[in-house]
Amino acid sequence: MRLTVKITVAVLLGIALIFSIFSYYSIQREREQLKTSLSREARHLGESLRVMVTEIWQQRGEREALAFLQRANQVHGETLVRWVWVEKEAPEKYLPRVPIDQLDDLYDEETVALLAASAEGRDYLLTYLPLVIDGHRIGAIELSESMDEMHDYVEESLRRSAMVIGAMVISSLLLMGVLGSLWVNRPMRRLRAQAERIGTGDFSTSLNLSGGDELADLGNTIERMRAQLAEAREAEQAANQAKIEALEKLRHTERLATLGKLSAGMAHELGTPLNVISGRAKLINSANLPAEDVTRSAKIIGEQVERMTNIMRQLLSFARRGEARKQQVELNTVLRSVTPLLEPSRKEKKVEVILHEAKQPLYVSADPGQLQQVLLNLALNGIQAMNDGGRLELEACSEREVKPPETVNSTVESWYSLLIRDQGSGINTEDLAHIFDPFFTTKEVGQGTGLGLSIAYGIIEEHGGWINVESSLGKGSCFTVYLPAAEAGENQ
């Protein structure tokens, strides 16, 4: 129910109640007044009649007195006058209209006035004036007056009150409807619309409620809230912008740092063979160099050139890695395909390679060649880390519960993984942070360029996955390659 209607109904009920009570008491009072005045009139008339009846009774006797009363009846049309005996044994004709018990006061020669209803339900005002006959018989002049007039008057009063109440209700409804709409409904609608706008994040429209009432206060409060929210959002946007800019700067710095690392790595990797080549060339060019040294120098130059070519090739594969040609690949198959390639290194280092295949086939969408390259790289690293032999475990499994790191922006929920676990020397914490950096290596010169892991990480990243490393010094390392599981529909 609308607020205005509720208030209107409550107010109207209150008004109607008060007015009804007021009307009731007014009517009651008027009724009493009317009764008093009627009673007084009857008494006056009765007093006059009593004097006359007493005289006639004394001078001419009972018959004449009663006849006089009979005649008086004809003069006073509205009022019925008769003689009664206040005796139980009196003839019916002279019995009072009310039981004699109610007329005890007459014995004390006092006038009695009372209201009584007739058998037909009509009300009468009865007035009894006592008269002592022969010193001992009590009689009375009974004046009865119909109260119909008074009933009419009360009915009229009631009707008038009802009409007034009705008119008041209707006019109040109209007035409160108009004013309620003007003072409550309209500002309420505007407040609601504004609140809804703010709720949807639109802080652009301001709200001005005129008047100094509570709704205007509420409007002002909402307006202040809107301004504060708008300000807060602006501040947040500015902060976000600043954050994005800072991130952008950081990324730029990171790119520069990577470039720096790459350049430093390249300088070291290429600087040394270049140094050897230029030195050997100079030696060959110098006089008095024995023939065998010339040959050896030329051979070394050839070797160094080959070494540089190798570095260049790896660098190219790092920088311009070909587009991955993805297809359905089964991880157990990949594991099996890598094992024969590990054979020579495995034998040399006296390492035992153990395969743990998954029970069910695990399909991923990947470039099989690139995936094999990653697995081979990680497995060879593992073998090389084991100088005193040991066990290299390769495992394929499905990881349902794993959560990707923040750098991997993915909504994939189902991941498959390849584990490469060695019992080698392990990686210290400081190096662990850099193992995926290009040109980072802990191997002897010529043993590795420091690009392998970097390339591996890049490939897996391109496949929507990531590589996780856990390592403890002296106990070994475990590399886990996570790849998004191919969707059910893609399964073969």
Binding site: T272, K282, L283
Partner: protein, 135 residues
Amino acid sequence: MEAVCLDTHPHILLAEDDEALRDLLDFTLTRAGYLVSCCTNGLDLLERLAEGDPFDLVITDLRMPALTGLEVLESQLDNQQSVPFICMTAFGDRKTHEQAELFGAAAIIDKPFDLDEMIELVRTTSLRNPHQAKP
């Protein structure tokens, strides 16, 4: 460069992890008349220095496995009898240079360098060092 044979050959300790460059420097410096001893990493170098052999000059690469040349150089800071160091670096950045200088390197040479330049550097460094003989 002509080989000069003298009774006392200045003794150079050469530390370089790259075999090809080590061979080249060994060959060239020997031809130039120096006595050359080689090591392949920083740890090796530190051990040789600790053995107390009277080396006249150390030529070391800065980036080496086990222990870097810079770390070896730093460890020699408190040594009163320390030999002059010539540092070879492929990281020609200012920071590396400054650090090497701070740790008392006699000279720093960027890779790739000219062999004549290296011989000249060895000669002048040896000259500056009073308790050393010339080749």
